[in-house]
């Protein structure tokens, strides 16, 4: 076995250089030339200043904005603490939290008690950085946003439709509304 140690050490060094240094640097080099915007985090700018990434959700609490899903990342949408609640489906803490969120969602959006609340609006995502919400969730929030902005409802609903991303290629994944893009669109005015 001792005779194998020198090749083992040399192999570790050589393969580190090849796969651990040359390979990521090559990918970085090509990416920075070919896909500069995306390789750097798909940043969204408003009047020259970055306000977030089009791929990452961010917290919105104001009445005139659409709200994202609940987040378990740090205090909510913390880019350095991505993660899920990891609570099991029967966990009493989870059920209590969701019960509270359903009541708050109904309060905020004037949803009658008999009406069910879309599940994505009251559950935390896996990353805590989910950028999307369901169309059902967006539609229920639209009345509040329209009232707060003094807009006709159909203008807000039209904006929701504009920022609804269909399933990719028609069948991959799920239909989602990008909350950041939608809110920025609303801020640009009618």
């Amino acid at each position: 076995m001792r005779r194998q140690l020198l090749p083992a050490l040399l192999m570790t060094v050589v393969l580190t250089v090849l796969t651990g240094i040359a390979y990521p640097l090559l990918v970085t080099g090509v990416s920075q030339i070919a896909f500069k915007h995306r390789a750097n985090g798909s940043l969204v700018e408003v009047s020259g200043k970055p306000v977030g990434s089009s791929l990452l959700g961010q917290g919105f609490t104001g009445v005139k904005y659409f709200h994202p899903r609940p987040s378990a990342a740090g205090e909510g949408y913390d880019g350095l603490a991505s993660g899920a609640s990891n609570l099991g489906p029967s966990n009493p803490d989870l059920l209590k939290t969701i019960k509270g969120r359903i009541a708050a969602y109904r309060d905020d959006n004037g949803v009658a008690v008999g009406i069910e609340v879309p599940v994505d609006a009251v559950t935390a995502s896996a990353s805590g950085l989910d950028s999307g919400i369901s169309v059902a969730n967006a539609r229920l929030q639209a009345t509040r946003v329209a009232t707060a902005r003094g807009w006709p409802l159909h203008d807000v609903l039209a904006a929701v439709t504009r920022h609804t991303q269909d399933r990719q290629w028609g069948f991959l994944g799920e239909k989602v509304v990008n909350v950041l893009a939608l809110n920025l669109d609303l801020d640009r005015g009618r």
Partner: protein, 571 residues
């Protein structure tokens, strides 16, 4: 399940059906010993590597020398990684000024990446420097997969060679797998990922002021390059804590299905390689059929279970129905762009292989939906398994299956003309028992002690599942988790590290020893009494052996965990 969900599954299967023969034939030429495609490009690079490392790639090794090379390489590279983790604050590429990793966590992490497990008791974005990620962890993402492929190829050679003492050369198998299989696939995969929005830079974390005036940290890193090899090599260790649920690792449904393909491509192609090298494709198809069958069953349980949602939430007033306006289902711990079915398919694939990357929180899945990944891992990750480890795992099960068939008819069992005798079966038993022993012992000990229980996020039957999942995942070198368990304690770092080492080397060494023993034998010609191993009947027997011999070992604990939770919660 919706039509779209069926189409997504069908699309993935079609992509794999195309890649399996192409990649399988290519790998057969890489390992076959003759000329291989791309020799003009790869041979000069490999010659330089061999010369620097002072190895002779044509020098054939006996099984024990092959194993010594594997162990020496593992020992040296794990020590180097451990030192990198401990000393990372003194090394370059640390724009966020992260500190050195504590000793117990460094031990667990170094072993975790050495053994292709990628269990993570840390959050990448706040613990590991860019250099640690790319030069330390990515290296092991490549070589742990390559070493697995080496053992599988050595076992194939043992089955096919006649009266031969040798099984090939470890250094050559390691190098050729890295240069010819993993690097090209990873590079191409990384470029696809970046084109869709996976980040690839060396910026420090960027703090932006959000629309509502709050601050948000936007992390950077060489993510695409790591994401590609972490899936191509069935490693699974994400640069970010949320793994492939993080929008910067897996931004959209196209990358999601592409990652699924990367996870499954090599493991499904290797049985084809086996059939081709054996000169009898049916032998490969039988193994492939068993893999596909069990993988599909898992997907078809987990996908609808998650889409159905949780009756607890319906009772509270949440709408989980699948409609045109929402994907519905059990959405706790899931991403809206992948939905509940996207989680089920991913969870099945990442645990049928030894990957362990996740696009949803397994801990928050429904009891039966979450039992699918757990049982997949318990079955030894052979559906279709990791790079190499899936195939050698399946071949060991095939030996068990012919042995059991032989017992039934009272005839010495044969596989590919090689007599399976007491020496091989003793090694098979070590292979089969080492992992369940270590998993159940550590999980049992953790439950009767007081302190480890403080690490649980959930209690009752779900808490048991959480604990058992942790050791099952580490013992079988998967790396996915019921993430509620706070594993960064001395107890879990140490026991988990031991479980991972046992799960790697108590399987690899017996597999190599079996290869050595088989290689020395003279094949016996097939006769009327030979049990044919290239038939659908044998595929059925193989599935039966996996489910009965391996599955039953764990049945009591599965009954107490997810099945109890399902029944008392009326899911």
């Amino acid at each position: 399940m919706t039509t779209a969900a069926w189409l997504q599954l069908g699309f993935l299967i079609s992509a794999l059906a195309i890649s399996t023969p192409l990649l399988g034939s290519y790998m057969a030429r890489v390992y076959g010993g003759g000329k291989a495609p791309g020799d003009r490009l790869f041979l000069p690079v490999e010659r330089v590597i061999y010369r620097i490392c002072r190895v002779d790639p044509d020098r054939e090794q006996r099984w024990n020398i092959y194993a010594y090379s594997l162990l020496a390489f593992s020992a040296v590279s794990v020590i180097v990684l451990y030192l990198q983790l401990r000393l990372q604050q003194h090394l370059p590429l640390n724009p966020d000024h992260l500190v050195g990793v504590p000793s117990a966590l460094s031990f667990n992490t170094a072993v975790s990446f050495l053994t292709n497990t990628n269990w993570q008791n840390y959050a990448g974005e706040s613990t590991m420097t860019y250099l640690t990620q790319m030069a330390g962890l990515v290296l092991h993402n490549f070589v742990s997969a390559a070493a697995g492929a080496g053992v599988a190829v050595a076992l194939i050679r043992g089955l096919l060679r006649r009266r031969s003492d040798t099984l090939g050369n470890f250094w050559a198998d390691l190098t050729r797998t890295t240069t010819r299989v993993l690097l090209p696939l990873a590079f191409a995969g990384a470029m696809v990922l970046v084109s869709q929005g996976v980040v690839q830079n060396f910026h420090a974390t960027k703090v932006v002021t959000t629309v509502e005036g709050r601050h948000q940290s936007i992390p950077g890193g060489a993510i695409a390059s790591q994401e590609a090899i972490k899936n191509v090599g069935q490693n699974g260790g994400g640069p970010y804590n949320a793994n492939a649920a993080h929008p910067f690792e897996n931004p959209n449904p196209i990358t999601n299905v592409f990652i699924l393909w990367m996870i499954l491509a090599i493991p499904f192609a290797l049985p084809f390689t086996f059939g081709k090298l054996a000169g009898d494709r049916k032998q490969g198809y039988v193994v492939l059929a068993a893999m596909v069958g069990l993988w599909l069953v898992g997907a078809l349980i987990a996908m609808p279970m998650e889409a159905r949602g949780s009756p607890r939430l319906t009772a509270l007033g949440a709408d989980q129905k699948v409609t045109a306006l929402q994907s519905g289902g059990n959405m706790e711990g899931k991403e809206s762009r992948f939905g509940a079915v996207g989680c089920g398919l991913f969870a099945d694939s990442t645990t049928g292989t030894s990957t362990g990357s996740i696009n949803c929180a397994h801990d928050s899945m429904t009891p039966i939906g979450g039992a699918v990944p757990l049982v997949n891992i318990m079955l030894g990750e052979v559906t279709p398994g990791g790079t190499g480890s899936g195939l050698y795992g399946m071949l060991i099960f095939a030996l068990t299956a012919v042995f059991i068939a032989g017992l039934m008819v009272g005839r010495t069992p044969e596989y590919l003309g090689k007599k399976i005798q007491a020496a091989e079966m003793k090694l098979v038993v070590i292979y089969l028992l080492a992992v369940p022993l270590v998993i159940l012992a550590f999980a049992g000990a953790s439950i009767v002690m007081t302190t480890p229980l403080h690490s649980l996020a959930n209690h009752g039957p779900h808490g048991l599942t959480e604990m058992v999942y942790a050791f099952t995942s580490q013992g079988n070198n998967n790396g996915s988790a019921f993430g509620g368990l706070a594993g960064n304690t001395n107890w879990f770092n140490t026991t988990g590290g031991i479980a991972m080492l046992v799960g790697r080397f108590f399987l690899m060494i017996p597999a190599l020893a079996i290869a050595g023993s088989l290689g020395r034998k003279q094949p016996v010609p097939a006769s009327a009494g030979t049990f044919p191993t290239g038939t659908p009947l044998f595929a059925g027997l193989l599935v039966g052996v996996i489910v009965i011999v391996v599955g039953l070992t764990y049945f009591p604990v599965v009954a107490l965990g997810p099945i109890t939770e399902h029944l008392i919660g009326r899911y």
